[in-house]
């Protein structure tokens, strides 16, 4: 959390220097800032705390009226029994394989395309750039039915291939765009020097460009991880067998009531927390890249 607190010393010093009547209005303003800040944080965090509370309650305590905001006894075994109820380890493994492969494929091929678009001269360069950028606006829903049918006819229905293979073909057009923007910012003298030393494009790409574009592909990897880990519609459409499901589909099915049975919310919330944990950890570990990467997205689209 130290990175969060390093900024904004200046305002406090300015406030300290303020004198007289200004002092009072200033402190009133500061108080209202903090009240707002507290409110925003509460709205975002309280639902998550509520989830943990339910995850710790006993099955019957969940349905107490009025509900208790704090459990009166703690049931840590929910964190074992909940995951068991949906074969969590299996689904976790499925999600991990699908996500790892689609992150690798999506980022690699987008970086390759970005390299070609930004640093190589070839006929059709502009056209491909505009086609890729244009396809960002194309709604994904248009492809849903024809792709479903295509995968079905080549025997990919109920396999992971529809969730993984498209990533190896450029993945997300947004990534191609981001990659190109980063590659454009690198001085051309660098690859000219490498060329004089006899390096081919493959070596320039892997040994010169990839180290220089680390923020770009880390940002993309994080976004690709989330997109794959959080995706619900695609696995729902393409996967029929429950043993092939990723966590998203497994978790959603957890609470759909079978034959009038009420879902077991305390088990569910405990498991839900485990499902959220990987993206949560990643977010806090890579915050810097998040803000940086998305910030550059905001400023590049402006041009």
């Amino acid at each position: 959390m130290t990175t969060l607190l390093t900024e904004e010393r200046g305002s406090a010093e300015v406030a300290a220097r303020a004198v007289g009547t200004k002092d009072r209005t200033k402190s009133l303003r500061t108080a209202s800032w903090y009240a707002t800040a507290l409110f925003v944080c509460a709205v975002m965090v309280v639902p998550l705390l509520w989830m943990i509370t339910i995850g710790l309650k006993s099955r019957s305590a969940v349905f107490e009226v009025p509900p208790r905001l704090f459990p009166n006894e703690f049931h840590f075994e929910n964190f074992i029994k909940g995951p068991e109820a949906i074969r969590f380890p299996r689904l976790l493994l499925n999600s991990s394989i699908i996500t790892a492969l689609s992150v690798f494929g999506g980022v690699l091929t987008a970086m390759m395309a970005g390299y070609a678009l930004a640093r190589l001269r070839f006929p059709g360069r502009k056209i491909w750039f505009y086609l890729f950028v244009g396809s960002m606006l194309l709604p994904g829903v248009v492809g849903l039915i024809p792709l479903f049918q295509m995968y079905k006819s080549i025997g990919w229905y109920d396999t992971w291939l529809p969730l993984i293979v498209p990533a190896f073909f450029g993945g997300n057009p947004l990534f191609i765009f981001l990659a190109r923007q980063y590659f454009l910012a690198i001085p051309y003298s660098i690859d000219e020097a490498a060329k004089i030393d006899g390096a081919g494009h493959f070596r320039i790409f892997t040994q010169v460009m990839l180290p220089l574009t680390k923020p770009a592909w880390i940002t993309m990897s994080i976004l690709a991880f989330q997109a794959s880990w959080n995706d619900y519609l695609n696995p729902l459409v393409y996967l029929y067998s429950s043993e092939k499901w990723p966590l998203a589909v497994g978790m959603a099915s957890f609470i759909s009531p079978f034959a009038g049975q009420t879902p077991d919310w305390s088990y569910y919330m405990a498991t839900n927390l485990l499902y959220m944990l990987p993206p949560l950890i990643l977010f806090f570990a890579a915050q810097r890249y998040f803000i940086q990467g998305l910030g550059s997205l905001g400023s590049t689209t402006q041009k």
Binding site: L4, L5, E8, G10, S11, W33, Y34, A37, V40, C41, M44, V46, P47, W50, V62, F63, E64, P66, P67, L69, T109, A116, L120, R121, F122, P123, W128, L138, P139, V141, V142, G143, I145, P146, Q149, F168, F169, G170, Y188, E192, K195, I196, G200, H201, N230, L233, I255, Y268, M269, N272, Y275, P279, F290, L294, G295, L297, G298, S299, Q302, K303
Partner: protein, 316 residues
């Protein structure tokens, strides 16, 4: 990779020409190749194919039968679920998009101030965005439970009126919008980037001229971020028109048809085989209705954008 090795130094021309002039073409297509294939197979082909399917009767098993515009005629005149779906989609967009932009911008302005701990607020506001949709939506399903949910508990403690939320046909869509607004951090972060790109000299000049905070906001900030605002209107509307996860998980379209948005209706017609035969041709026709609405929204927004966006012609 042999072509790539050809030494460019053999042609001692200008820098630009040494890099170009054909020697890169082969290498370029090796690098861009996967994306080009992907574009053809996963974008162009489905686009053409889905239009064809929209004109057929097709159940996914036997061959599609060409029926012309019959699916569209059925949608607009016969299907009792279509117009409610259009209504629900429009309601969702009109409620969600303005709120998301207004709250997102307000949060961004707030998070762009300098005070101790502002980064924590930024992080917290963005936090729900990174969490899996299924996880957060199901959490909200429980929060909005009328009897034992957190929402009504808090409202009761504050002596405010409670609601049936998702179970009520009038409150179901506003409830879905509340859940979607929890992810307002995604709107905020892009506005924040735009705000930080506004040159500080403009603010300093305004301060010298004695401008108050409101005139600074409406005369400097808003015009400067209007291109991003335009982008956000397009992105948010396009995304909202394709909302699927929230109505699917929270209400499955109910109660009645109150939250049965177009995407959910497409899914139900095309994929959810609850003992029914999938109607892929019919669902494709609905996809094209949605697609045309999306194109129309983008075109209209872009057309009228010159009225309220500021563009600096001196920049490139």
């Amino acid at each position: 990779m042999t072509a790539a090795r050809r030494p460019d130094t053999a042609r001692p021309k200008g820098r630009l020409q040494a890099r170009g002039a054909g020697s890169d073409t082969k290498a370029a297509y090796v690098f861009i190749g996967p994306a080009v294939i992907g574009f053809t197979v996963f974008v162009v082909y489905p686009l053409i194919r889905s239009f064809y399917l929209a004109l057929t009767k097709y159940n996914g098993l036997s061959d599609p039968i060409f029926v012309g515009f019959d699916n569209f005629r059925r949608l607009f005149t016969v299907d009792p679920a279509f117009w409610p779906a259009m209504r629900a989609t429009a309601y969702l967009v009109l409620l969600y998009v303005p709120l998301s932009l207004a709250i997102g911008l307000a949060l961004a302005v707030f998070c762009n101030q300098k005070f101790r701990g502002v980064r924590i607020v930024r992080t917290m506001a963005y936090l729900p965005v990174v969490l899996p949709a299924v996880a957060t939506i199901t959490l909200w399903k429980f929060i909005l439970n009328p009897q034992v949910g957190l929402m009504n508990t808090i409202l009761e403690k504050l002596h405010l009126p409670t609601s049936q939320w998702l179970a009520s046909p009038t409150m179901s869509m506003p409830s879905i919008v509340i859940v979607m607004l929890w992810g307002v951090g995604s709107t905020m972060i892009i506005f924040l980037a735009a705000l930080q790109a506004v040159p500080t000299e403009l603010y300093e000049a305004a301060k010298v001229d004695g401008a108050g905070p409101y005139s600074v906001f409406f005369r400097i900030t808003m015009p400067m971020i209007s291109p991003i605002m335009l982008l956000q209107v397009i992105l948010q509307t396009t995304a909202a028109l394709q909302t699927f996860n929230q109505p699917k998980i929270l209400t499955d379209g109910g109660p009645g048809f109150s939250t049965n948005v177009l995407m959910l209706s497409i899914y139900k017609n095309g994929f959810s085989n609850l003992g029914r035969i999938p109607q892929l041709g019919y669902a494709s026709a609905q996809v094209w209705v949605l697609f045309i609405v999306i194109i129309a929204v983008i075109a209209l927004t872009a057309k009228f954008s010159s009225l309220w966006t500021y563009s600096d012609n001196s920049a490139d």
